[in-house]
């Protein structure tokens, strides 16, 4: 289906999917870790001066 150069095509798509997947995973995991630490501090009563405003 992909001809004699199928290895090169599959390697391009495979590595791109892996690298982009790793980037997305890193961004998601990093975001969750930071938010968890933020929530822990807020649960201990440490708040920003402007914490009354609605955040998401």
């Amino acid at each position: 289906m992909l001809g004699e150069h199928g290895f090169f095509i599959l390697a391009c798509y495979g590595v791109s999917a892996l690298v982009l997947g790793a980037l997305a995973l890193w961004i998601i995991v990093d975001g969750r870790l930071v938010r968890r630490q933020l929530e822990e501090l807020e649960a201990r009563g440490v708040r920003r001066r402007s914490a009354g405003r609605a955040d998401t």
């Binding site: 001809g3 150069h5 391009c12 791109s16 690298v19 920003r48």
Partner: protein, 244 residues
């Protein structure tokens, strides 16, 4: 409402929280459609099936340059308006742009081997794209080398503005010098030279990757805003503990 009011970190978090799931879904759906069309598109009369690499290599190249252009715009926001969201946008884009620049070089190298007989040549297009990747990596290294975040942001902004001169060099390198890399075949004064049966899947894949980059950037910006809030709270907690 002024534009500067919209660029408020709290407002950005609220807005991006609603937009991000839709943007991510749209990016993945567009990419799925793009790949479906790409793998149904005919083989190129010269390159055969290896033209399938074009559907990812070309968007990676465009987005590596687009990402750096966004860095330059953010750098202006840091240096001219001193806007905190500009620094957040700048810091969040650097690793994402670096990944797209790396993938452009990687897929180009694997495309070059069967077509040119070599993985790499030091021609102007390949070399200037390698310089773009090194600029991204330099920005990441610079930020991590300077402890004060404000100083690191300003230094990175200056470097990204100086490095922006490389973006038109990447784009026009194939016109200014004799290169093994082919000249532009989509964005040309006389129109694209690619047949529509190959061009449409390429444009849809490019749109999908653009939406994906924007979604990743938005998510990374949200994390960076939270990280800065965390730093403030940690400093406050430490100060309260010291006074207690």
């Amino acid at each position: 409402m002024a534009l500067m009011d919209l660029a408020n970190p709290t407002r950005f978090l609220a807005l991006s929280g609603r937009v991000l799931p839709w943007l991510t879904g749209l990016a993945l759906a567009t990419l799925a459609l793009g790949f479906f069309l790409a793998f149904r598109a005919p083989a190129d009369y010269q390159q055969g099936e290896t033209v399938k690499i074009m559907y990812i290599h070309v968007p990676f190249a465009w987005l590596a340059m687009f990402g750096y252009s966004m860095l330059a715009v953010s750098a202006l926001g840091i240096l001219v308006w001193r806007h905190p969201l500009a620094d957040v946008a700048h810091k969040a884009m650097a690793p994402i742009g670096a990944v797209f620049a790396f993938l452009c070089l990687f897929t180009g190298s694997l495309w070059g081997r069967p077509m040119w007989g070599t993985y790499w040549v030091w021609d102007a297009r390949l070399t200037s794209m390698l310089v773009l990747l090194l600029l991204y990596l330099g920005l990441l290294a610079l930020r991590s080398a300077i402890e004060d975040p404000n100083q690191a942001g300003r230094a990175a902004a200056v470097l990204s503005l100086v490095g922006f001169v490389n973006v038109p060099i990447v784009k026009f390198s194939v016109d200014w010098w004799n290169t093994l890399h082919q000249p532009a075949s989509v964005f040309r004064m006389d129109g694209p030279t690619i047949h529509p049966s190959l061009l449409w899947p390429l444009m849809i894949c490019a749109l999908g990757f653009t939406l994906l980059m924007l979604a990743l950037h938005m998510a990374a910006m949200r994390t960076e805003i939270h990280r800065r809030r965390l730093r403030v709270l940690e400093a406050r907690a430490a100060a309260e503990a010291a006074y207690a």
